[in-house]
């Protein structure tokens, strides 16, 4: 019989208030195999751990059970504690009498009884524990950053500067993302392009960064340290090796298309670069609008190209690359305002969004920086802003705050006043949220120096009368209805997750919340990690964020990725599945169910009635297996067993529970 120690933790009063810890320890003395049972105020504390280590040596323990908090909390602590005393760390079982007992019960007698049951199970299990050993797997010292907005660029630069190669992938054909569309940035009013473009160029020229634009992640296999990523490089129809970016093709292209970059306020050509500072600054052909690709007529771009770079025959290309770490920085989409019919959104041309206004303000935008309203090009004087459109609105399925709108509306009001001193901005708001450095000061200036009128209340209706827009709402501070005759209405549209974010999450095997924002591993203590080791989050794909937050998070994610890449090798999971080849019938159910693709079928030779014969059996790749146990339940023969959770161990626990 193995020699087992039992340590019951009080967790201060967390456990001791609802469980008689001394009694539990006393009862455990009689469990089969137990040679020592004791209790202590804090087992995880230094003296607690020293006590355990001394007991291991003194009583020559083969294994021990600690009845304390959740193994999620302190299993690593108690395993390390065992290792320090020379015990195999997998000879430890942690029984959860806190989250699963003391915290959920009020009756101390019953809590004690339950703790004893749980402990009896733990002891029965640990008797059947075997020492386990992890192996090491190599780390591919390269990182993939998905999304080339400001977060992706920052993460890529930081990882590259740490000395690791990075592939910066963007599905658009330029990096820059949303920030490239923005005119100026709060709270300093720097020109967005002036601070972004140098970073874009730096990323493009960095020796450690490979730019892969107009490309999408198709599939992800493998695991932390060694992700095999299939990337679809979409056909650009322009050979970038030959193209010099002279722009002759764009100039001559006869097909005009509403520009996505300009929020459809301007036009682009079918062969185009979306904006002058695009990186790479070479055009691609939009196959959905190119006359040649659609009906085989035209071909002007090919004719005018001096280097013969236009190639209508180009096809999508699939490549597979291996990366050690992945940073996801796919950003957000602006909320689709047409859900607000009462605001005439999507119907009245002069009801626009914040991003539209950014483009109208921008010197290189469709109006060359002159504020002209979309319907008739008139310069507006009275501008109404409506905040929280697609944010903090349960009815529209957006209960969350989009975080950046309060500040960008203040910025807009300031800039409008600067550009047009005769203009007046009215801002309907629910609350003004300015929790950032120098944000509140900026907001105060908008009101005091730039004459923006903040009206607390929701707008109920916006409609057209003549060439005016009537904005009807309520001033809830004065408690009376207000009506403003406006020339232009800007809806401060909130942030939505990318509409295809869930697809990417499934491809990557990361989780997302009910809205589609990617979920961090811990909201406070692991804000850039995902539940999938080796995949990190940066920027607004994790939740609404402004530029400073996105950049900060990107750098945080980069440190995590670089930290992973800096390891010479990774320690693999020791609690992995193991196939009993004698029982395995080779049906392969485990192979198809394995989420980590860690099971392969191999052929074994065996002697049977004097003859050699071959048969199929499963083989678990111990480096890839994460010990989820899916195969062990799928296996019809019971050939698959999870080390540390063998069928025998679980049965022993069930038996122990039934013995009370």
């Amino acid at each position: 019989m193995k020699r087992i120690g039992v340590f019951v933790c009080h967790c201060g009063s967390n456990i001791a208030n609802t469980v008689h810890c001394e009694k539990v320890a006393q009862v455990a003395k009689d469990f089969p195999g137990v040679v020592l049972s004791t209790d202590y105020k804090y087992m995880c504390s230094e003296p607690g751990q020293v006590m355990i280590q001394e007991a291991i040596r003194e009583h020559n323990l083969d294994g021990y059970v600690v009845a304390a908090c959740s193994p999620r909390m302190h299993e690593p602590t108690f395993r390390k504690c065992a290792a320090r005393a020379g015990m195999n760390p997998y000879m430890v079982e942690q029984v959860n009498i806190r989250e699963q007992c003391s915290w959920v019960h009020a009756d101390k007698e019953k809590g004690t009884e339950k703790s004893i049951d749980l402990l009896r199970m733990g002891v029965a299990k640990v008797v059947k524990n075997e020492p386990l050993y992890s192996t090491t797997i190599p780390v591919t010292k390269r990182s993939l950053v998905i999304g080339g907005g400001i977060a992706g660029i920052q993460a890529a630069l930081d990882i590259a500067n740490a000395g690791y190669p990075v592939t910066l992938l963007d599905r658009e054909h330029t990096i820059g993302g949303r920030m490239a569309q923005v005119d100026k940035t709060f709270p300093t009013l720097d020109c967005s392009a002036c601070i972004l473009t140098p970073k874009m160029v730096e990323a493009a020229q960095h020796p450690n960064i490979e730019l892969m634009t107009y490309a999408e992640v198709e599939a992800v296999d493998g695991f932390v340290g060694n992700f095999d990523v299939t990337i679809r490089k979409k056909a650009r129809y322009v050979d970038f090796d030959k193209c010099t970016g002279c722009g002759a093709c764009t100039e001559k292209c006869p097909k005009k298309v509403p520009s996505e970059f300009e929020m459809e306020l301007g036009v682009r050509k079918a062969i185009y670069t979306p904006f002058p500072q695009a990186v790479p600054n070479k055009p691609i052909i939009d196959a959905n609008h190119c006359r040649y690709l659609l009906d085989g007529k035209c071909g002007i771009c090919k004719k005018v190209c001096p280097t013969g770079a236009v190639d209508y025959e180009q096809k999508d290309e699939l490549i597979m690359e291996r990366f050690g770490a992945i940073v996801v920085a796919t950003g957000f989409e602006q909320f689709d305002i047409s859900a607000y019919e009462e605001y005439g959104a999507g119907k009245i041309p002069d009801v626009i969004t914040g991003l539209h206004l950014e483009r109208l303000m921008n010197a290189s935008g469709p109006t060359a920086g002159k504020i002209k309203r979309p319907s008739d090009g008139k310069v507006p004087e009275k501008i109404v802003f409506v905040k929280c459109v697609g944010s903090r609105d349960e009815a529209k399925g957006r209960p969350y705050c989009s975080k950046a709108c309060c500040m960008y509306v203040a910025k807009h009001a300031t800039l409008l006043k600067e550009k047009m001193p005769n203009s007046k901005s009215y801002i309907f708001y629910m609350d003004v949220r300015t929790p950032g450095k120098n944000y509140e000061e900026f907001y105060a200036r908008t009101q005091n120096e730039y004459d923006a009128q903040y009206i607390r209340g929701r707008v109920s209706k916006i409609f057209q009368v003549g060439d005016k827009l009537i904005v009807r709402g309520e001033d809830s501070l004065l408690g009376r209805p207000v009506e403003i005759e406006a020339d232009l209405v800007v809806l401060a549209a909130g942030m939505d997750p990318r509409s295809d974010a869930k697809d990417l999450a499934r491809t990557l095997g990361i989780s997302y919340d009910q809205h589609g924002w990617f979920t961090e591993a811990h909201p406070k203590l692991q804000p850039v990690e995902t539940h999938t080791a080796g995949i990190y989050l940066a920027g607004a794909c994790q939740g609404p964020k402004d530029i400073p937050d996105s950049v900060a998070q990107a750098s945080a994610a980069a440190v995590k990725a670089a930290g992973l890449l800096s390891k010479p090798e990774l320690t693999s999971e020791a609690m992995t599945a193991l196939c009993d080849e004698a029982i395995c019938s080779g049906c392969g159910l485990c192979q198809s169910i394995c989420p980590y693709k860690s099971i392969e079928i191999k052929s074994v030779n065996e002697r049977y009635h004097g003859q050699m014969r071959q048969r199929r059996v499963s083989n678990v790749n111990q480096g890839l297996c994460q010990g989820c146990g899916a195969c062990t339940v799928a296996c019809p023969s019971g050939a698959m067993n999870l080390k540390g959770f063998t069928n025998d161990q679980i049965l022993a626990e069930v038996d122990a529970l039934c013995q009370r």
């Binding site: 999450a505 019938s585 049906c587 159910l589 198809s592 169910i593 071959q614």
Partner: protein
């Protein structure tokens, strides 16, 4: 001699004489008028032993397991219900596709020999319940077909030589009742259910006929014969029998091809298919309708990992 039997013998003779197959599994005339048991033949002249009628009910596919490690090509006859067993064995990689030659036969519906009153006097017998509920009277997979049999991977009407006879006998006429017994048991209170199953499990004496006939029961070493005691005991007590019944049902969960042979061969008339069908009903509700063993390339709902699998238990 009926037409199907004649065609069976002709084809068997040809296959064995040409050496295309090393052996052939079929049915033969039994010692009584209501018995048509399986037979394995290896010589062309043995083809005369083959026989087919409405008592050739045995699903022969499980017998292929005897050949699973060999390289001999074996031919066998399948009715619609049996043929899903072939798909089961292929999907479970227990037989190699090249080592089996599947011969599809049309089915007129199998008679229930439990209704025999006089063993000496041939009589008209009612169809087996499983034939009344039959949804796949035509083979879902076959390399050769005889007597007008047709391959169909979808639920279909009986085809071939005996199509009209099958229709007249009511094959598939009670398809809608497939889950009737499951619903009836679900409607019971917990105590009633317990009493119901306890009564069934008291009858079981662990002959393992249900396991032996089942094409999905193809483990190398059956857990019920394993020396790893603990989960289940060999003794035929109601408790251990209950454990046996549930374990068996879970071992074929998502893989049961609904041939109904387990229930037919049970000497104690335990409603084994009720348990199988309950699992099938649950899988259909959770993962969408599917029929195991009808599509060789199809993925089994329980043999697949998807990120959006339902997980309401989490």
């Amino acid at each position: 001699m009926n037409q199907i039997t004649k065609e069976m013998r002709d084809l068997a003779r040809e296959l064995l004489a040409s050496g295309e197959v090393k052996g052939l599994i079929g049915w033969t005339k039994g010692s009584r008028w209501y018995l048509t048991p399986p037979v394995v033949i290896t010589q062309p002249e043995e083809a005369e032993q083959l026989y087919f009628d409405q008592f050739a009910v045995n699903n022969l596919t499980g017998l292929l397991l005897d050949y699973r490690y060999g390289d001999d090509k074996i031919a066998l006859f399948v009715k619609g219900c049996d043929s899903r067993g072939i798909v089961r064995l292929l999907q479970d990689h227990q037989i190699k596709r090249d080592n089996v030659l599947v011969i599809g036969v049309p089915c007129m519906g199998m008679s229930d020999k439990k209704a025999v009153t006089d063993p000496r006097q041939p009589a008209e017998l009612p169809l087996l319940d499983k034939c009344l509920e039959c949804r796949y009277p035509n083979p879902v997979i076959a390399d050769r077909l005889i007597s007008g049999a047709l391959v169909s991977g979808e639920p279909s009407e009986p085809k071939g030589l005996t199509a009209s006879e099958a229709a007249k006998r009511g094959v598939g006429s009670k398809q809608a009742d497939r889950f009737a017994q499951v619903k009836a048991i679900e409607a019971m209170s917990a105590d009633e259910k317990y009493a119901f199953w306890q009564a069934q499990h008291e009858k079981c004496f662990r002959c393992y006929a249900c396991r032996n006939i089942c094409p999905a029961c193809n483990c190398r070493e059956c857990i019920f014969e394993s020396d790893k005691k603990g989960w289940v005991n060999k003794s035929a007590t109601p408790t251990d029998n209950a454990f046996f019944a549930v374990t068996r049902a879970m071992h074929v969960a998502g893989r049961c091809v609904e041939c109904g042979e387990c229930e037919r061969v049970c000497p104690m008339d335990i409603p084994i298919m009720a348990l199988n069908r309950k699992v099938i009903q649950d899988i259909n509700e959770l993962f969408g309708e599917s029929d195991a063993g009808t599509d060789l390339d199809g993925k089994m709902p329980l043999g697949l990992f998807k990120n959006d699998d339902p997980e309401e238990f989490m």
